[in-house]
């Protein structure tokens, strides 16, 4: 004592605090010493306002930590690019390399159907295939030797019957076993149609796995003119370099218009049908693989630039003999990410390595995730998804048990037992296209003749019958301004602090400094009690 003047007792300290602190009400506590009731009242008041303050604080913090967002919707109308359009003719190639196997497979399917449904049912089932099979020649990739592929007879279609609830219930399916031949299960379907389709798909994947991974189709004689008879955008004919061609194992040859979105030709200038993309398409059905897909027409998908089109997910069907006008409207969603919700800006921070060399989408991530697990667990890749480096597609000549492995894995994915859904967040910035369509018969009975005549002259269209095999599609912006939905935080740190300050001043009339004062009081109490202890110890010593 001397340099640091200190309180003599707790009472002193407490009184000093109460009189000099900036917290309202403490002074009343001391000054109403003479009246016990008042003291009690002020103590109660102080405590209750203290309680109120912290209750409000708790509410505020719990609100803040829930990270609420508000959506602000705004309309933008700056000029933008027309979206990428992918069209597919639902007519996959029969590549020369595998065509023989496909014919074998068709025979096998024929035999199975005969076996299951009797002889007369499949009498003229594949007459079309025998007559003219359009074979895709891949001779310029000459160094590929014929692989020793053999169709497996192990997976034949069977009919199982069981008596359930007194009624005979029959289902059709095929058996899948693991590598040692055990742990077998039947993949059964209540309808024979589904069973045959799935069975055919399974064999088809095995056959197609022999094909080289990268087939350079664009070098081939396949021309866009064979499928797209007429293409106009904004009243001007499309340029031949505007499309990208790829082959999909189920949906056939596909063309993507405006896939990069950089060419100023595709800038959307005006909304409305005359300024959209207008296509006349061939929707012929003669080369179909009849057991692979049962629908006829053309698939159209509207998607973002640099995005892999997943036609099986969002494809829009176009009917032959019909003119379809598709109006699109763009919606943009911007997510905040971070604490406010899981999302990824470009997919770099996602654990899954994307197998598609396009921009990140949730679907692409899920497919890649599944393919990685598939390669890891079953040792080979699923045919419909791209391959990771070093892996190869499944083939039951090499991996006899892959079907068993695949179907089990697939059902685990469906039931969310694989953590693909946790690993793949949504993209932070998403563009959605809302589609609404109207249809009309085209060409009309009156105009049919001259339309066909014109097409025949110009495009070598050679159909004379009245069969519906052409379709017209017009895709246009309904309005050029697009809605963008932006997330923004409801409570920022600034807002939180200012409302905290407001609460403080409401209940105590004080500021952050009063908090410091409270801390000071605490520290003082500690120091004082230490001092007293020390004094007592010393006095005991001196007494002795």
């Amino acid at each position: 004592e001397g340099l640091i003047e200190f309180y003599d007792s707790f009472k002193d300290m407490f009184e000093f605090f109460c009189k000099n602190t900036t917290i309202h009400g403490t002074i009343r506590l001391v000054c109403s010493d003479s009246n016990r009731m008042k003291t009690a009242f002020w103590t109660l008041l102080l405590l209750s306002s203290f309680g109120m303050l912290y209750w409000q604080f708790a509410l505020m913090f719990s609100q803040y930590w829930a990270y609420p967002v508000v959506l602000t919707m705004s309309m933008h109308s700056e000029p933008k690019m027309f979206p990428a359009i992918t069209i597919c003719n639902l007519d996959p190639y029969r590549f020369e390399l595998v065509s023989e196997h496909l014919v074998q497979l068709d025979r096998m399917a024929e035999e199975s159907i005969t076996f299951l449904y009797g002889i007369n049912t499949s009498a003229r089932l594949f007459h079309l295939n025998d007559r003219n099979i359009h074979v895709k020649d891949l001779s310029n990739i000459g160094n590929l030797s014929r692989s020793s592929f053999k169709l497996s007879q192990n997976f034949s279609l069977l009919r199982t019957t069981d008596l359930r609830s007194g009624k005979k219930h029959s289902s059709v399916g095929f058996r899948l076993c693991n590598a040692t031949g055990g742990n077998c299960f039947y993949k059964t379907y209540s309808s024979g149609m589904d069973a045959i389709l799935e069975w055919y798909r399974f064999h088809y994947m095995n056959i197609m796995s022999q094909l080289p991974v990268i087939i350079n189709i664009s070098d081939h004689e396949e021309q866009i003119e064979d499928m797209v008879y007429s293409c106009q955008y904004d009243g001007e004919p499309c340029r031949p370099s505007d499309y990208v061609h790829f082959h999909h194992p189920v949906f056939g040859s596909c063309y993507t218009f405006n896939s990069k979105g950089t060419d100023p030709f595709w800038t959307a200038t005006k909304p409305g049908i005359p300024y959209g993309l207008s296509l006349i398409l061939r929707a012929e059905q003669k080369d179909h693989i009849p057991l692979l897909s049962t629908v006829a027409g053309v698939k159209v998908m509207i998607h973002n630039h640099n995005q892999t089109p997943f036609l099986e997910h969002e494809g829009f069907d176009i009917r032959p003999g019909i003119a379809t006008t598709i109006g699109i409207q763009q919606d943009e969603v911007n997510r905040l990410g971070g604490n406010y919700g899981k999302c990824t800006t470009n997919g770099d921070d996602v654990n899954v390595k994307l197998l598609y060399n396009n921009s990140y989408t949730l679907q692409a991530c899920l497919h890649s995730c599944f393919q990685h697990i598939m390669v890891q667990k079953c040792g080979c890749g699923y045919y419909y998804y791209p391959l990771p480096p070093g892996a190869q597609y499944c083939d039951y000549n090499k991996q006899p048990a892959w079907g068993h492995c695949f179907y089990q894995l697939y059902s685990r994915l469906r039931n969310h037992h694989l953590n693909c859904f946790d690993q793949c967040p949504k993209p932070c910035r998403e563009s959605l296209y809302k589609v609404s369509a109207g249809t009309a018969k085209w060409p009309s009975a009156k105009s049919q003749d001259w339309v066909r005549q014109a097409l025949r002259h110009q495009n070598g269209y050679n159909s004379t019958s009245n069969r519906k095999d052409i379709a017209k599609v017009t895709i246009f912006y309904q309005q050029l301004n697009y809605q963008s939905v932006n997330e923004s935080p409801l409570l920022t740190e600034n807002l939180l602090l200012s409302s905290m300050g407001s609460q403080w001043s409401l209940w105590f009339g004080s500021s952050v400094l009063s908090v410091v004062e409270m801390f000071e009081l605490l520290i003082d109490t500690l120091v004082l009690s230490l001092l007293f202890c020390y004094q007592r110890l010393r006095s005991k010593k001196t007494l002795r």
Binding site: R28, Q56, L291, A296, D317, G321, S411, A437, M500, S505
Partner: protein, 557 residues
């Protein structure tokens, strides 16, 4: 994610030809008389004739009076006595009246059975509408007499309807469908209704993960007057929502593959006091007749049905029965049709008060559908597929399937993005308080404590002082009286006057107004006080008093 979807599969008319043959015959007779064509070669006539022989007994038990009556008036009309019949009074309820010169306006007249002068003539600009409406009216009459079990049996079963079913990459069958009977549309099937406890959910968006079904639709079995379009109706709704298939169904076509992509939107409004909506419908005085969760549609239908039972004495057929009521039919309630039309007119003009009673539901779910159609089956696959499907179906059906009997339907989520629109109060209690505190702090640097201080000083303290004064007065008055009574006033009064000096009374002494305003000074810390005033007048006085003896002395000297 727990995304569920539920579908009502197309509803189809039952093969109730035996009940309807008489009605069909009369309708055709009407068509002949008005439009002069006979459709003797049509399928309907054939089946009617066929059924007539088997169902004749049944008809004698329940004779259709109205229909016979109608035929009489119709023939009257045909003979050219138009004016006369319009002027005359119809005793029976309904009949088709051709009131126009040739066949431009057609309608029917409904009369009050009790007071036959009150008639209403309902006309339609097109004969198609008139006949359909008239047919529907009679159809309801007939159906109201048939018990539900019979109707369910007569309608098609799930087995008949479904050829294939595929959901989320797995096979499904009729066990995943639950039946409910729609009064007008017959049997409907709901996929994933959640009735057996499990609700299926899709793993991802895309058509291969959705529901894919092939439906068998027998065009020849359609009632020619009730429905004029072929196909099926589908509706996407929540598990505990009632499917109003006649109001918001999407129609699908035969011989085509219809793929329906869905976007899911969930909305939630704040209930009172923010808006006038209801959470469960329990606060609305209309009983929910549908066994499903509340919606505005349900409330309006229930309200109308209640009004119908109250004023007409029987329930309308297309809506569920309230407790204790029964469906209207000619025999028991001959007056019901007139009553129904009057009531319906009132309902549409919002005179029944239903629109005022019923409130919006606070939360609702909505599915935005995008439909695209492809040709199906394709010409190359048609062959094998029809054969396989025919064989699958073969156990019950003898004929070979035609592609116009089939409809392929795919229902799927386009993506699993769910749009959730919810209202939040803009000003919560926390925000209100903090705004209050902010303003108070900014302008007055004041808090709740200082507000309470003001309250304490101006109300509690001053009140207590006034009370104390009053108390003392009362006490004094009392003592005075007592003193006067006992005869010892001079002893009591001096004690009372010096009450605040009395040591016993000091504890009870409440602070006075002045002490409360000026904070009492603690006694143990003596602050320097201003010295007592040192007036010069006082000194003068003393000087004067001292001087006075001086002067006296001087004068003495």
């Amino acid at each position: 994610p727990g995304v569920t979807m539920s579908h009502c599969l197309p509803c189809r008319y039952s093969a109730m030809k035996e009940y309807l043959s008489e009605l069909d015959k009369e309708t055709k007779k009407a068509l002949e008389t008005f439009y002069g064509f006979s459709d003797g070669k049509s399928k309907v006539r054939r089946s009617v004739d066929k059924w007539n022989s088997t169902g004749g007994d049944f008809f004698q038990q329940i004779p259709l009076l109205k229909v016979e009556d109608f035929s009489r008036t119709a023939t009257d009309l045909h003979s050219g006595q138009k004016r006369k019949i319009e002027g005359s009074v119809f005793h029976k309820d309904s009949s088709i009246v051709n009131s126009g010169d040739s066949n431009d306006i057609i309608g029917f007249q409904l009369c009050d059975a009790n007071n036959s002068s009150e008639c209403a003539l309902y006309t339609f600009s097109s004969g198609v509408n008139a006949i359909q409406e008239w047919y529907k009216l009679h159809y309801m009459n007939i159906m109201a007499q048939i018990p539900l079990e019979t109707k369910e049996k007569l309608s098609y079963s799930a087995d008949d309807l479904l050829l294939t079913c595929f959901f989320d990459g797995l096979s499904c069958d009729k066990r995943h469908f639950t039946r409910f009977h729609h009064p007008l549309h017959g049997n409907c099937y709901t996929f994933n209704s959640g009735e057996n406890g499990t609700i299926l959910s899709t793993s991802t968006g895309g058509s291969e993960y959705g529901l894919q079904v092939v439906l068998y639709i027998d065009e020849a079995d359609y009632n020619p007057f009730l429905v004029t379009s072929t196909g099926a109706k589908i509706i996407v709704h929540d598990q505990n929502e009632y499917p109003f298939i006649e109001d918001i169904g999407t129609e699908i076509e035969t011989a085509a593959a219809t793929s329906i992509g869905m976007h899911f939107t969930r909305s939630r409004k704040l209930s009172k006091p923010y808006s006038d909506c209801t959470e469960t419908g329990a606060d609305i005085p209309v009983e929910n007749l549908y066994n499903k969760s509340y919606s505005l549609q349900i409330c309006l239908h229930s309200c109308f049905q209640k009004a119908m039972v109250d004023s007409c004495g029987c329930a309308q057929y297309a809506q569920p029965l309230p407790a204790g009521a029964e469906y209207c039919n000619y025999k028991k309630n001959p007056n019901w049709m007139y009553c129904y039309y009057r009531l319906h007119e009132k309902f549409v003009k919002e005179q029944l008060g239903c629109q005022q009673i019923c409130k919006d539901a606070c939360s609702f779910k909505e599915w935005a559908l995008t439909t695209s159609i492809a040709q199906w089956p394709s010409t190359v696959s048609e062959d094998w597929m029809l054969r396989v499907l025919s064989w699958d179906k073969g156990q019950k059906l003898n004929k070979k399937l035609n592609k116009t009997d089939l409809a392929n339907l795919m229902v799927f989520y386009k993506d699993l993005n769910e749009r959730f629109i919810s209202e939040n109060p803009a000003n919560t209690l926390v925000i209100l308080l903090s705004n209050f505190g902010g303003q108070l702090g900014l302008w007055m640097s004041c808090s709740v404590v200082c507000v309470i201080e003001i309250v304490e000083v101006f109300f509690i303290d001053s009140l207590s002082i006034v009370m104390r004064r009053q108390w003392q007065k009362a006490k004094k008055w009392w003592n005075d009286r007592k003193g006067a009574g006992s005869g010892k006033p001079p002893q009591a009064s001096p004690v009372e006057r010096q009450g605040h000096d009395n040591p016993i009374c000091i504890d009870e002494d409440l602070p006075t107004f002045n002490t409360a305003l000026r904070l009492p000074l603690p006694q143990d810390s003596p602050l320097p006080r201003t010295p007592p005033p040192n007036y010069s007048t006082l000194r003068l006085e003393t000087a004067f008093t001292e001087q006075l003896p001086d002067t006296l002395e001087l004068s003495q000297h």
